[in-house]
Symmetry: C2
Subunit: 364 residues, 2 copies
Amino acid sequence: MNEVNTLLEAFKQTDYQVAGHGTRNVQILKEAFQSFDGQQDSDIYGKGKIIEDFQDKMANYLGKESAVFFPSGTMAQQIALRIWCDKKGIRKVAYHPLSHLEIHEENGLKELHQIETVLLADKTRVIELEDVLDMEEEIACLLLELPQREIGGQLPDYQTLQEISVHCRNNGIKLHLDGARLLEILPYYQKSAPEICSLFDSVYISLYKGIGGIAGAILAGDKDFTEESKVWKRRHGGDLISLYPYITSSDYYFDQRSQKMDIYYEGAKELADLFNSCHKVTTLPLQPVSNMFHVHFQESKERMEPVLVELYKETGIGLTSYLREINATECNYEVSIGDLYANLPKDKLRQVFRVLERKMKELI
Amino acid sequence: MNEVNTLLEAFKQTDYQVAGHGTRNVQILKEAFQSFDGQQDSDIYGKGKIIEDFQDKMANYLGKESAVFFPSGTMAQQIALRIWCDKKGIRKVAYHPLSHLEIHEENGLKELHQIETVLLADKTRVIELEDVLDMEEEIACLLLELPQREIGGQLPDYQTLQEISVHCRNNGIKLHLDGARLLEILPYYQKSAPEICSLFDSVYISLYKGIGGIAGAILAGDKDFTEESKVWKRRHGGDLISLYPYITSSDYYFDQRSQKMDIYYEGAKELADLFNSCHKVTTLPLQPVSNMFHVHFQESKERMEPVLVELYKETGIGLTSYLREINATECNYEVSIGDLYANLPKDKLRQVFRVLERKMKELI
């Protein structure tokens, strides 16, 4: 019997889920297009009102001169780094060892662009100013991922960001923002998107994380940069004849959720507190700095899964559909707070943690 | 005053259009999803029923072991060629000088994959067996585009295809089909898709040409090949979290139109005859071998545009929204017959050609 599927199946049967915006089903598209005018012309290979209007809106929101819609962040970011490498004539960039480019893209940056990488900091913490100052290699671009997802969504101090930005400008290093979750960190920094983006030469944001669209990304920067990115977008096979299914839904959910990041952030802090008050449970970071964090159980995946399955059955509330094994005595999963959290009655929330605490204590 | 826009505007005002499936607007998506179950789960990074079912259906339709859905043909074809190059350890392929890869992809094959190209045949005709036999360079893969779009959609004899296929197999050259319009040529060859695909090691088809979907492509071949293509799809940034907006609409329009290619083909032949009976008008090819052909006017673009604008106003029927200048005495445009042709009353069709003939004769 497959325990993972058991957990997933039990999760699917719950009446309430604590995190996320809800199931990624086709209804997300249907809702976005329900009241959208069918007579609106498609975008055609990057041209047309439907794509240009949204690109302008995003450029304005990020405080950048220009923005380009991409089918994926993988494509957008490789291209950003390639452009900066070509501009400097050096095929080398620096980023965190757990960057999306390093661990989730099948080495596209190296295989398609022959770009070497310098890994800064170690896998347990974010990049600090010292890491950048100590770097001996000459690089074309430094990529910062805010928040650093694979370590629970951690952030450097804002002052560190400013200092890194100044250092890069003074040393001819382009600074690129992997802002897949940029909107999600604005409440913590208490900054606007343009304030943060002004520290970077180029910025990528995702449209299906906190925004909850279907797919898609924005790459923003100066006009010269974005125009060059369109050429590479075509080379990558991303200049589709029609991208409107993603654009229109991104726009719809952006309007619905971009103002709710404060709520998600407050929810994440509240929920993390509840986890941290449980026996053998901690969150990373202890206090979230965005809508996300990781939940770590000091138990094996094998032992935790039946606990969660029983918890879901007893309470009708689902925490997660999966667990990741870290080692023989620890497992974890990722939380991203979305619309569902506010829908969960507070007594239900207290109930699930009462039951979880009891079950964790029952484990030998 | 912009003459191109005048022609486009006049075209948009017409009651009937002769070619195509109709305006590429958002209604195409809305119609495809209207009766589709919103509770259906999204595909997630290439997995899930919605993508796997369609890939199986396409593999079966093409008679190949396996098929992968790609956001674009540009991405799918570069990847196919890269895989064959890596397999042979030679970064060189051959194709027609007017191949999509050569003229529409900003040199992605060279810039991203460092693949050199050998151009076979010349720009006025299709690749023949002799071109392949005479090739001195060692290549990993030969790409054939059927029909050769940029010369009006021309085809080699079926026997030529068979001979090229045998030669490639005997000489360790992989044969790749750019079948963007594969379905559209089946009526001419009087062959099934699997019969034609059996001549090729890998096959790409488009889902928004004759099929009329929103965007998307299928790459098919042996399982080893398609599995490797998924790795490259991720590297290219094409492994989107959700591709279902394209998949579901492709499936919907495939079911609606894949059986109508005969009708489109017959329409194209009829329409080409009408053009060829006009003064100063010829088609390329003279007799279409698919649903497509080019219309050549032996007049400058500048002189032809007002003729067409008047024709549209007088008849309410639109032939084309644009003209391409070839030289000072010739211009052309592309026709692809789709659903609209059958909706055009025959007396309207005769009327438009009566008026066109009169206007062409009126030109000095």
